[in-house]
Structures are given as C-alpha cells and as structure tokens.
C-alpha cells in the first residue's frame, strides 16, 4: 500500500527502525506524556467530583499548560511510534480504538478546559454547581482510563 510504503521510507520511519536509541527514547517520551496527561486530568476530575474540596478548582488552571505539553509530547511521540511500523498499526483494531478514544479524550478535555476558563477565580460556586463541568469530568475520567487499557492491549492482539 502506497501510504504504508511512504511512511516506512520516510526519514522518521527509517530513523525509528534503524537507530538503536530512537525507539526507547520515543517510547519513554510517550510514557512520560501519558503520565502527565492522564495524571493531571484525573486529578482535576477527582476535584470536580468532590475530592479535596478545600482546593479551589480555579487554581488548577495554571496546571493545564503542563497537561497540554503532555498532549503535544504524546502527539509527536505517537506519530513517531506509528511510523516505526505503519503496516501493523494502520488496520489494527485495538490501535484504532485507542486513537478514537484518545481523540475523544483530548476534545472532551478541551471543552472542559474552555468551560472552566469561562469562570474566573471568584466564581467557584458556579463551577461547583455546573452540571456540564461535572459531566465533562466523568467523561474525561472514563475515557482516559480506557485509553490506557486500549494502549496496553495493542501488543496482545496479533494480526496475521
């Protein structure tokens, strides 16, 4: 398939396969990014759903730059990982499920981030009572745990 050949023969594709350290470095970056994205989002979600009520939800806003850095790290490392074996991943049902969940997770987090941004620090009561924010918190919580599950299961589903 032309697309697969193109990816495999790209500079990134070749580097990932030929270089001794490319794959471990990219994999490490992906693990770090994952811990940042899932970690920060889960902490935010736990707070929104009632844990550690003494912590103002508004104060989490300055943490989100770290979350977005994690998303960027994983987007880039994810592309590199894909390029290391496009033939395996392109039609892999578990991988495609993970990507679908991940995109949904990023979009959901974006909406949650935007929704929180509409309230300033003085509006804690509004944030606490917002059904939309609570719903987005449940959604991102479930989705991001699912992304981890899907990610781990990729290796366990063999393609012919």
């Amino acid at each position: 398939m032309a697309f697969i050949d193109w990816v495999e023969n790209s500079a990134l594709g070749i580097w990932m396969v030929d270089s001794l350290w490319a794959y471990p470095i990219v994999l490490s970056t992906h693990a770090i990014g994952m811990s940042i994205v899932v970690g920060t989002i889960v902490m935010l979600d736990l707070r929104i759903l009632g844990y550690a009520k003494a912590a103002p939800i508004s104060s989490f806003k300055s943490m989100f730059v770290v979350t977005w850095i994690g998303v960027a790290l994983n987007f880039l490392s994810g592309i590199a990982l894909f390029c290391s074996d496009p033939a395996q991943f392109l039609f892999h049902p578990v991988f495609l499920t993970k990507i679908g969940l991940m995109i949904t997770g990023v979009v959901s987090f974006y909406f949650l981030w935007r929704e929180l941004g509409k309230h300033d620090a003085a509006a804690e009561v509004e944030i606490e009572s917002s059904a939309r924010i609570k719903l987005l918190a449940y959604l991102t919580l479930i989705i991001w745990f699912s992304v981890i599950v899907a990610g781990r299961l990729i290796a366990y589903v063999e393609l012919s």
Partner: protein, 144 residues
C-alpha cells in the same frame, strides 16, 4: 500469574494506572511547591498525597506480581536495578520533604512562594519519578 493468559496484561494496565495516579497527584503537589499552581492552601494540596500512596501501592503490588512471573529476568537487568535505585532516591526525597518542607509550608499554608528548599525537593521529586518511568521502559531493551 503464568497460568492465566490475562494476568500479565491486567497487571500492566494497573501498573500504568498506578503510575498515572502517582505522577498526577505529585504534579499537583510539586507544581504548587514550585509556584506554578498558586492560591491553593497547602492543607488542600496535601490531600493529594494519599492518592500518591495509592498509586505507589498499586505499582508495588503489580511490580511484585511481575517479579513472580519471571524471577530470574529482573534481578540481573541493569535498567531494573537503576529503576529500584531511583525509587529509593524518590523515597528518601519524600522523607526529606516530610521532615523539612511539609512543616515549613504548614506554618504558612497560603503562601505562594515557599522558598528554594521547597522548589529543590519538588524538582527532585519529578526528576526521580520521571526517571523511574524511563528506566521502566528500558527494561526490555537492555536484555540479551
């Protein structure tokens, strides 16, 4: 562990969930100590530490399960040994935090800047734990 085909992937899934809980909760605490997160009383911030302990507990349990699946694989592995060393260093840093930074910040829980010591301990915490993640990923790569 070896008899059930699902035990290893299940343990891996929980190992990754545990590390995300650990890193996420420590990011809240460390980013606060570093002054990136502001306007959050330390009394509230430290409510995230039990989550760190939960994450660590999940990972210690699943980690021990991994050891039982293949006892002779891990001991000679240099990445595994260094990972254990980094966990020890992170633990020592946590003790240092407990006896120095924790009482310091609780004296003035609303302060946004807690001085250099707090920042050093927070920075080391993140360095050691991200190091643990990287070394964990390296375990299969340094084997023969």
């Amino acid at each position: 562990m070896r008899d059930s085909v699902w035990m290893f992937p299940l343990a891996e899934i929980f190992h990754f969930i545990g590390l995300s809980l650990l890193i996420g909760s420590l990011l809240v605490v460390d980013l606060r100590l570093l002054g990136v997160i502001k306007n959050m009383s330390y009394a509230a911030v430290y409510r995230f530490l039990p989550i760190s302990l939960l994450g660590f507990g999940i990972n210690m349990t699943t980690g021990i399960l991994f050891l039982f699946t293949d006892p002779f694989r891990y001991y000679p592995n240099i990445a595994f040994r260094m990972k254990m060393l980094f966990i020890l260093l992170a633990g020592l840093n946590a003790l240092w935090f407990k006896f120095s930074v924790y009482p310091l910040t609780m004296k003035n829980p609303e302060a946004n800047d807690c001085g250099k010591l707090a920042k050093v301990v927070a920075g080391l915490s993140l360095l050691f734990w991200f190091g643990v993640i990287v070394l964990g990923r390296m375990i299969p790569y340094v084997e023969d």
